[in-house]
Amino acid sequence: MKIKLLFLTLTLLFSFGCNQNAINSNFGAASGNNAVKKRIGVSLLTREDDFYRELEAGLQEAARQNNFELIIQSGDKDLSKQQSQIDNFLVQKVDAIILCPTDTKGIAPAIERANAANVPVFTADIAAGGGKVVSHVASDNTAGGRLAAEYIVKAINSEGIVGIIGQPEVQSVVDRETGFKEVISKNSKITLVPTLNGGGVRDRALKAADDLIQGNPNLKAIFCINDETALGALSSAEARGKNDLIIVGYDAAPEAVAAIKRGSALRADVAQQPRDIGLKAIDAVAKHFRGDKVEAKVSVPVKIVDAETAR
């Protein structure tokens, strides 16, 4: 009896909720400038680091200017979660989807489902390995890797042993590594040892750095593919008193910038401009809605931050 009552209440509440939604959207249609406010589903990689918070802020700023409604969700670095978020967006009949894929290749089938439903898909920060994407907005990661390499080449006078702590599961990170290797390989006196996997997290990176420094007593420099990795490597270097090692990180998060400023082994960072990525992603969507031509790849510039420029 009680259960029935509960069920009834829930049903009532639910239908009321639906009506409420219907009223809202009707109201929205009437008050909008002749058209229904465009809704964009966003599935971020995570909401748990500074980079994505900035990116989200950029998205929201541009969405306000364009009068778009954003439905922002976090994929929490979990492919299956992100896939179901995309499916939910399709059920909600959003007008466009912006994705930061949790897995470059694994996300393709979900994008294909969106293609089949004629919902345009945009990617930001991380590229997708399949499906039809209108435009990919991201930092030029390869250029970022090149910048880091140029910094290291100069700092070690084009000579010595150099290592990389990477995260081969993520395409944007692999691009950084590619750009880095491209520049390093032009220097015949620099030896690049095989890349170790730090998983992009601090404790794994610390272990990888321990092995890297241990295995190569004459190691001159380490390129770390993000700041958590760089800070893990820094802990390893500091525990060994290796302040002459040159660590270059990526992202310029506050903690890393503080470490650069205090003159630690972490000498420099490649800084992305996540806010600009968010802004340009919405720009691309807006252009597409207007029927303008959108470039398939929008590159957002990166820059290098060291003790001098961080001040």
């Binding site: 995570t46 909401r47 748990e48 680091d49 500074d50 081969p168 040892v193 095989p194 170790l196 996997n197 998983g199 997290v201 601090r202 404790d203 794994r204 610390l206 272990k207 990888a208 321990d210 092995d211 890297l212 241990q214 295995g215 190569n216 007593p217 958590e228 800070l231 893990g232 802990s235 500091e238 525990a239 998060a253 903690e255 503080a258």
Partner: protein, 311 residues
Amino acid sequence: MNQSIRQKLSGFVIFGAIVAESIVFSVLAPQFASIENLVNVALSIAVIGILAVGMTFIILTGGIDLSIGSVAALAGVVAALVTQHTEIASLGFAAALGIGLASGAFNGVIVAYFRVPSFVVTLAVLTIARGLAFIFSGGRSIGNLPENFGRLGKFVFLGIPFSVWLMILTFAFGWFLLRHTTFGRYVYAVGGNAEAAFLAGVKTKAVVFQVYVLNGFLVGLAAIVLASRLGAGVPNSGLQYELDVIAAVVVGGTSLSSGRGSVVSTLFGAIFIGILNNGLNLIGVDTYVQKIILGVVILLAVLADRFNRPH
């Protein structure tokens, strides 16, 4: 009698395996066979080793604890927060032990007195603790702490880092507890046949509860070592440590079907895996291939356990 011979035999197998892999790596990697690298290996298994002592007790009683990595991350975050606000690292470390003990007691009560399978309870605590770690930290690592927070992680005594000393002490303590106290006898009795133990007058529920509290304490200890080495509270640290720890226990020869095993065999298991990871990194084996090798090793260990079973 027969069983103890078998147990010695399986100890011999894992010891032989350690010798064998050491010989292989010495040949393939010139850096491998050095005092420095041995210390490096010991350092790399310190956190996992401390956790593995607690896990050995739990597995001996027929249980499992999946929450250890997340609880360690939570304890590390809380330690960092307390240190940030009070400027006293020892207060932060005390808080970490408190978190460990509290979560251990929580797991213990539910498993022992509410008779819920440990797998389910600790799986729930795994996600709760991870969620809390992200909420308390606001999703970002808590770094830039007073210098004394990281001092423990950098402290070296007689050429051996503090974390390694702590691991050695933990193993000695666990060995003594299990081999030379009534409590230890009870742990084996509960794991071997809980009903028989109960009929013989062992307070089985109390023993199980105490084992989870002990494990919680060791998780707190491991969290201190980890956070201090990283010099920060990192919410996404400790990912999948439960798997690494269970691997060490199982490879050492402790049976998941409970009642057989020892702290010493777990130490061997941890050393074996530590050397394997280190050696593969030193000779530059692809990180994906490393995962496969580790999986095969675990399988072989379980198969060996199967053949050692006394019937």
